[in-house]
Amino acid sequence: MIGGIDIIALIATLMAASTPVLLAATGELIAEKSGVLNLGVEGMMIMGAVGGFAAAVATGNPVLGFVAGAFAGAALAMIFALLTQVFLSNQVATGLALTLFGLGLSALIGKGYEGIRPPPTAKLDFGPLSDIPGLGQIFFRHDWVVYLSLLLVAATWYFLRKTRGGLILRAVGENHDAAHALGYRVIAVRFAALAFGGAMAGLGGAYLSLVRVPQWTEGMTAGAGWIALAIVVFASWRAERVLIGAYLFGGITALQLQLQAAEYSIPVHLLSMAPYLITIIVLVILSAIHRHGVQAAPASLGRSFHASS
């Protein structure tokens, strides 16, 4: 307890609260690293939310729900991939349309699922580890998706930094003409990156509807997809900073509500603004410190590729 705020409970809360945005942002990071700007994160998230919810309710198995959520997100991403990579439509406009489409379609699919409760997602049992004072509550009392999300961030970091596949992905994102000249299949790489991005957004959406809220309500992502997009930019396209950004944002959101409940005499308007403000400030400072490795956006981000050009 520090100043009436239970720090341990706060950290435990923020880890769960940040998971949807963290998953979606990590997926979008890979998509953008391959040079595709997919603004449809919100739409893919909400499709994952409704798809995951429907599957979990139908089968009674939350794990299948998460799998279905990932597939629903990936399916929507494939529509985007087809339109932007094969038919070379404008990525910004197509992404925005994808969000609107996802919101509408999810509302239609979700009509029959309002007011239903999903099967509970069990917390992992770490036995005695969960009983360690402090640490146990912070690290060993979550559901499996929280650990999966951390694992996926680590895997993404490793993939981008240490593997040949990651190098190819980055090459495609930086200069698709050069990558093409070297014999890499630009379109195929981007399809794969978009599918991963969609699956991650879908997973994040399913986490919202199955664990965090947990129920289906129309429009329930309420802008989480946009936050994920912003975090990728502020994290200057680096996996570890996506983690910092997502946890910082989720943490301050949870903290400001707790400060209110604890009746701190800080103006509430300032508190509601804090998550956005502090996330921006910290990430700006971070990129200022790491000036030597200034990594702005992938050079081919948002540009269409055609083998003839």
Partner: protein, 359 residues
Amino acid sequence: MKRRSFLATTAAAAMLAATSLPAFAEEPLKIGFIYVGPVGDMGWSYQHDQGRQAIEAAYGDKVQTSFIESVPEGPDAERALTQLALEGNKLIFATSFGFMDSVMNVAAKFPDVKFEHATGYKRADNVATYDARFYEGRAVMGTIAGRMTTSNKIGYIGSFPIPEVIQGINSSYLHAKKVNPDVEMKVVWAYTWFDPAKEADAAAALIAEGVDVILQHTDSTAPQAKAQEAGIYTFGQASDMGAFAPKPRLSSIIDNWAPYYVKRAGQMLDGTWASEGAWEGIAEGAVEIGEITDEVPAEVKAEALALKDKIASGEYHPFTGPLNKQDGSVWLAEGETPADGDLAGMNFYLEGITAELPK
């Protein structure tokens, strides 16, 4: 169905429709609605849509209704209202406080169109306002909350610090305090009407503060789900939220807009519509109390229902003096009740609430 027979039937149906048209002397009255959330929020906007459907059920072919959902408060509302007006709607309901200025702006451009604004206070010749006395229902909820809490801490998830919400907080607190003098009220402002994840966070923050009964003034059922997990009590808001009965949802405050909507549509049809500020409560049926579940002991249930009856009959006003403001200054003297105008502009907490009201 074969294509040919399909075409034939469609043609026949079209003919029928065409020939039967003169049966209606006039075009149907077009009525439009804008909602702040999705119809499927199972709360606030859902109840307004029930009211819209009641108009259709009451007047059938004489009216034609349409709605635009999830309209953000702000400039977008003006666009949505203009669109409805241009589509020929003669009566337009704007169903959230934050649409107020948009309604006034659009109403000035369409003097022939009548507007109805929910929970606001600005009127014009073609703009009426209507509201429900939610604080009457909150008094009943507060009574149950005061009796049911064991930690003596009650939480309230506020949306925006506007009079409608502040009345609810004050009324809940006042009546919880009446039956349980030790009760404390914790307030968290979510600054949203509808954001399930944030509402769930707000509930979690209150629970971390030791609250064991939560009242909400936001529109989704997310806090109900959180409370269920924590094993504490809640009340349904705007809609019955009966899916969470008998626990955590102990009872609910239900907005029933149907009688008002049907009445106003009827006045449009017979040409007697006039701008006014309606404010109906338990007595008129605009505010209903959802079934009180068996989690509540029988004597508490009887006490709550007795309070409801006293409010309905007009025998008791939830804000009856002596009452002081938070700063200790006198608001109402012994036996005094506030004028509706004062109540509609309520911008202060009552004495005893320790939280600070955002300005």
